[in-house]
Amino acid sequence: MMQIMEGSHAIAEAARLCRPEVVSAYPITPQTHIVERLADFVADGDLNAEYICVESELSALSVCLGSSAAGSRVYSATSSQGLMLMAEVVFNVAGMRQPIVMSIANRALGAPLSIWNDQQDSISLRDAGWFQVYGEDVQEMTDLHFIAYRAAEQHNVLLPGFVCFDGFILSHTYEPVDIPSQEEIDAYLPPYVPYNKLDAKAPLSMGMYATPDYYHEFRYELDEAMTRSADVISAAGKEFAEMFGRDYSGHIENYRMDDADVAFIAMGSLCGTVKDAIDEMRADGIKAGLVKIRTYRPFPAKEIAQALAGVPKVAVLEKNISLGSAMKGAVGPEVKDAVTGTGIDVYSYVVGLGGRDIRKKDIRAIAALAEKGVGNTFYGLRTEVL
């Protein structure tokens, strides 16, 4: 049913509809409204789950890991410093192949303390073994939760996943959103069937130590599962499209890429601004286009290479900084790698860290920089304060 809803509350609805049996989270801005609403659902009897209160994010994800290992569908949500405090367990969840789905309200990392948006938190954990999908608007970030559970729990995947969305920009914005019914989601997302589970009658340990004889191969198998997940996420998106009419089968989305002279690459809510800027630029005769990355892990290199074929200049908009790297942003080098040998020029632009607004005129200015071959730099520095 279509309704006007705050982004966080739409995600809480999505989580409820997925019927998690255990929810454990620790409140952190800007994720708080999600878990507050889920606590209400449990208290009011609208969600039949254990809501386990803990004293930190480290404990929250540890509770989730244990609950998942015991065979439950599990949900959590966090942001920024909370995700960093979880980090040790984040890697363990993936290594133990527990298909936990966690919402990430993207927020900058301290110090200095910032409660505002960029994507440093989830991008910093890109190598943790969780697949990562990014929503552009409230509808998409809501729908991606259903798809994430559906893909994560397939026995040829068994990987956890982050559903990422920009903190405040999406988490606290009211938008019209179509929330499916419980019957519809039950038809899309069957009950979780664990591959392994803790059972006193058939004892099992998980994540046991691996000597140098075995560890290397465990990491290989984790990477193989991540590679396989690409097709499974895509198939889950296709099935979702067949049932609900909204198609998330592609790992990327192209916007006005035909005959583009300059292509932007972006993730998350920024894509909306970029599309508006592209419309204005096209009206002025500047042939710009956008490749939106929805699935960041596994990285859709092949799809990106296809989308960028024949485009001379590519500008990657980075809401992150890979400190000390040559291109500055973390996404740019992977895009550049995807088009190696084609002669396409790829530049990164670090934009909008810690909640700095990115305006249409900034997008246009970055296109001009890319045309001139100026990139791999911070954009929009206030030089007067340096």
């Binding site: 133990m96 392994n196 340990s205 691996a210």
Partner: protein, 85 residues
């Protein structure tokens, strides 16, 4: 042993985990010097040393190459030899 997803493992014994791959130095006994006192058998933390028909033998599936047997041998009959793997 094929890997199990998530490094899951059923309960078992330490015997299931062969530790021989940890080894850098392999014990070799000189039976000319050995008096079969059994000190090496008692000292081995992996119980990987035994006496068979009057000869000291090492179970290389489990011997980690720690060298306690060589250090404790009263006749210095055990040498630790670097292995090529």
């Amino acid at each position: 042993m094929a890997l199990r997803i998530g490094c899951a493992a059923a309960p078992g014994k330490a015997r299931d985990n062969k530790t021989g791959s940890w080894r850098v130095f392999k014990p070799e006994v000189d039976m000319e010097k050995c008096i079969l006192c059994g000190t090496c058998i008692l000292a081995c933390p992996e119980t990987a040393v035994s006496e068979v028909d009057g000869t000291i033998t090492f179970d290389l599936d489990y011997c980690k190459g720690c060298g306690v047997c060589a250090a404790e041998c009263p006749r210095e009959a055990i040498a630790m030899i670097q292995e090529e793997k």
